[in-house]
């Protein structure tokens, strides 16, 4: 399966046929940087696919997301791309009883507040949610309460949840492991420019992204090519005007 099939066949057919032919298909697979596999096997496709009208794109972080989003994707009448993080395959999360229910679903296009807070909003998806949560824990030590939002869906993007959060916190940073240019964070910034929620911001929005380079193989370079907790914490402090 290649991108031509996903975009030109799956994404556009419903529109081109004026609604006559829908494409209820799910594309799922590993996404994002793995460890030690260099440039050709380490990149995030969230922004690539989310760019295309006709596709729905989800990016689960934990077990609950993975199960609920995949089930919703299968039940959805449109093409859905499920971007699973390769490094998260082996990570177990405790789950609620209800998650194991056959009809447990996570709605497409809805974000989840992973940790409530009142001082700054941190938006992330996939493995970057972990980075955001670690950073929130670090900020908590300094008396800063960060609200962490797990996007879950990249398209549609649940801006209402982010706007609501920012009306409370007035500060926003985005965290992603993908590249910065035309990325998920860039889209969130643009949406703020186009919405009255812009006036709720007390400081510019800031992005923490993968470094704008192909993924290197060498270990120290690889470590430094993705945002880590101290990077996010520093960005949060900067946005809040604290040291």
């Amino acid at each position: 399966m290649n991108d031509r099939s996903v975009i030109n066949s799956a994404a556009k057919t419903f529109y081109m046929s004026a609604g006559a032919v829908n494409v209820p298909i799910v594309f799922r697979g590993p996404n994002g940087a793995s460890a030690g596999v260099a440039a050709q096997h380490s990149q995030c496709f969230a922004a690539w696919y989310a760019h295309c009208p006709g596709l729905k794109v989800v990016s689960p972080y934990d077990t609950e997301d993975a199960r609920g989003l995949l089930k919703s994707a299968i039940r959805d009448p449109d093409p859905v791309v499920v971007l699973e993080n390769e490094l998260m395959y082996g990570v177990a999360f405790p789950v609620d009883e209800k998650v194991t229910d056959v009809d447990f679903l996570v709605p497409l296009g809805k974000a989840k507040i992973m940790r409530p807070g009142k001082d700054i909003t941190i938006v992330a998806h996939s493995k970057a949610v972990e980075t955001a949560l670690l950073s929130a824990a670090e900020l908590a030590k300094k008396g800063i309460e960060a609200e962490v939002i797990n996007l879950r869906s990249i398209r549609p993007l649940d801006m209402q949840t982010i706007f609501t959060s920012v009306r409370k916190t007035h500060h926003l940073i985005t965290v992603e492991n993908g590249w910065p240019q035309h990325g998920v964070g860039a889209e969130i910034c643009a949406r703020f420019m186009e919405d009255p929620a812009f006036f709720e911001l007390d400081a510019p929005v800031w992005r923490c992204c993968g470094v704008d380079v192909p993924m290197p193989y060498a270990k120290t370079l690889e470590l430094n090519a993705l945002p880590r907790e101290p990077d996010v914490t520093a960005a949060a402090l900067k946005v809040l005007g604290k040291k």
């Binding site: 596999v37 260099a38 923490c208 470094v211 060498a218 370079l221 945002p227 990077d231």
Partner: protein, 463 residues
């Protein structure tokens, strides 16, 4: 020099005649190929150990068992020929001229690696060696493109594009076949059939397991890829074919002893007996050793000495590499572009990195093609302008000749001036060399292609 008759080594598809069955082997060639095979296997043993000791991370695909293919092919390739392969690239990298040190260091991820530790196991490059490629089958159309370059430049070289039996099912392989045949490209498609594509035997993944027939309209040759002399003979045959008649598909029937990569123990989809049988009956190194001894080209003692020396050398290398360091963090944003247009590269949180070009010093020698050597091939508007200029010059010359013949002045056609492409002087750095400025002008009519050298015409075989 001894003559040897090969048996059961070739099967032809759409070919009138296969390679000669009688091959000659000199003592010098025998020892060289033997040494190379031993080296290549020893490199993989070292890599295997370094991987298990966690010095090599990520992907690592070993070549053990397939040595005869790379060694036999490189024995007849010449300096002007190119090679591109998939991710099982260590042997090819070494045989195409990267030192064992540079290769193993790359896998370890240190600065002395042939890609400065930035590429890892699958991404190694050398002169006329266009890499290890990590995407299954992606190197095959690239190989056809390299063959097109050989044809276009008329340099008499051929391109060897290698892929595994698994990748042979990729759609892009057939697209490459099509264009290569259509344009008669000097391309040798080589399917290294090791009988298993990532945990799947050929009978479970391929509808037609005669990989040498899969070019359909491209002639093919099945070769016993565990016999280095058969491989060498077939390759010489394929080179001649590619130069004179266009593409050919070679199927090198071989076997890999190890798993697909390091995460695959290689025992789940085949029996241990099967591996053991091949090891004892068809091992490329062992069988070549026997041939050498039979032909009395060297004695047992001599070959043992080679084994011992290779083992010792590589052990020393692997020890030394572990003392090397990774490149500094300043190289995280190095060599993203050959000609970078924005000095600041975005780091994790802001534009705080500087782009840098270190390619110049890789391998301790210049890597980038100096501007003076770049053959400026006009494209787009520039190509149109160059064609116009050429046509106008020709018509001018014709008219002048006609006028001279008639003894009166003919009216000149347009002069070449309006055929010039728009000047791009402003884009040039101030220190641009005059040569570079000259190169920007539409070039003269393409130089006549060099006479393709006949094979074995005194060109030194590679390494």
């Amino acid at each position: 020099c001894s003559t040897l008759t090969l048996k059961n080594t070739f099967k032809c598809y759409e070919l009138e005649k296969g390679p000669p069955m009688d091959v000659e082997l000199s003592r010098e060639d025998a020892l060289k190929m033997y040494t190379q095979m031993v080296e290549v296997r020893r490199i993989e043993v070292v890599c295997n150990n370094l991987y298990k000791a966690k010095h090599i991370r990520g992907f690592c695909h070993l070549y053990n068992g397939q040595e005869a293919v790379a060694v036999g092919m490189c024995a007849v390739l010449q300096k002007k020929d190119s090679v591109i392969t998939a991710y099982r690239a260590h042997a090819w990298t070494y045989l195409m001229g990267v030192s064992a040190y540079g290769l193993i260091a790359e896998l370890v991820g240190v600065k002395t690696g042939c890609s400065r530790g930035k590429g890892g196991s699958m991404h190694t490059y050398g002169d006329n060696f266009y890499g290890g490629n990590g995407i299954v089958g992606a190197q095959v159309p690239l190989g056809a493109g390299i063959a097109l370059a050989h044809q276009y430049k008329g340099d008499g070289g051929v391109c060897v594009a290698l892929y595994g039996d698994g990748a042979s099912n990729q759609g892009q392989v057939f697209e490459a076949y099509n264009m290569a045949k259509l344009w008669g490209l000097p391309c040798i498609f080589v399917c290294e059939n090791n009988h298993y594509g990532m945990g799947t035997s050929i009978h479970r993944h391929a509808a037609l397991t005669d990989f040498y027939m899969r070019g359909q309209y491209i002639p093919g040759l099945w070769v016993d890829g565990n016999q280095v002399l058969a491989v060498r003979s077939a390759t010489q045959f394929a080179i001649d074919h590619a130069k004179n008649c266009g593409p050919i598909v070679l199927e090198m029937s071989t076997y890999r002893y190890e798993g697909h990569s390091m995460s695959d123990p290689g025992t789940a989809y085949r029996t241990r007996d099967e591996v053991q049988t091949i090891r004892t009956k068809r091992d490329p190194i062992e069988s070549f050793r026997k041939q050498i001894l039979q032909l009395c080209l060297a004695d047992e003692e001599e070959l043992k000495k080679i084994d011992a020396k290779v083992r010792k050398d590589l052990q020393a290398i692997s020890k030394k590499i572990l003392k090397d360091r990774e490149v500094g963090l300043d190289e995280l944003a190095a060599d993203i572009y050959s000609k970078n247009l924005e000095p600041n590269i975005r780091g994790v949180s802001g534009f705080n990195l500087k782009h840098k070009n270190v390619a110049d010093v890789c391998f301790g020698k210049a890597r980038r093609t100096p501007p003076s050597e770049i053959k400026d091939v006009p494209i787009g508007d520039a190509a149109f302008a160059a064609a116009q200029k050429k046509a106008s010059e020709e018509s001018k010359a014709r008219k002048a000749a006609a006028a001279a013949a008639k003894g009166k002045d003919g009216k000149d056609g347009k002069d070449g001036k309006d055929g010039k492409p728009p000047s791009d002087d402003n884009d040039k750095p101030k220190d641009a060399e005059p040569k570079e400025a000259k190169a920007a002008e539409p070039p003269k009519a393409a130089a006549p292609p060099k006479e393709p050298a006949p094979p074995k015409s005194g060109d030194k075989p590679k390494s």
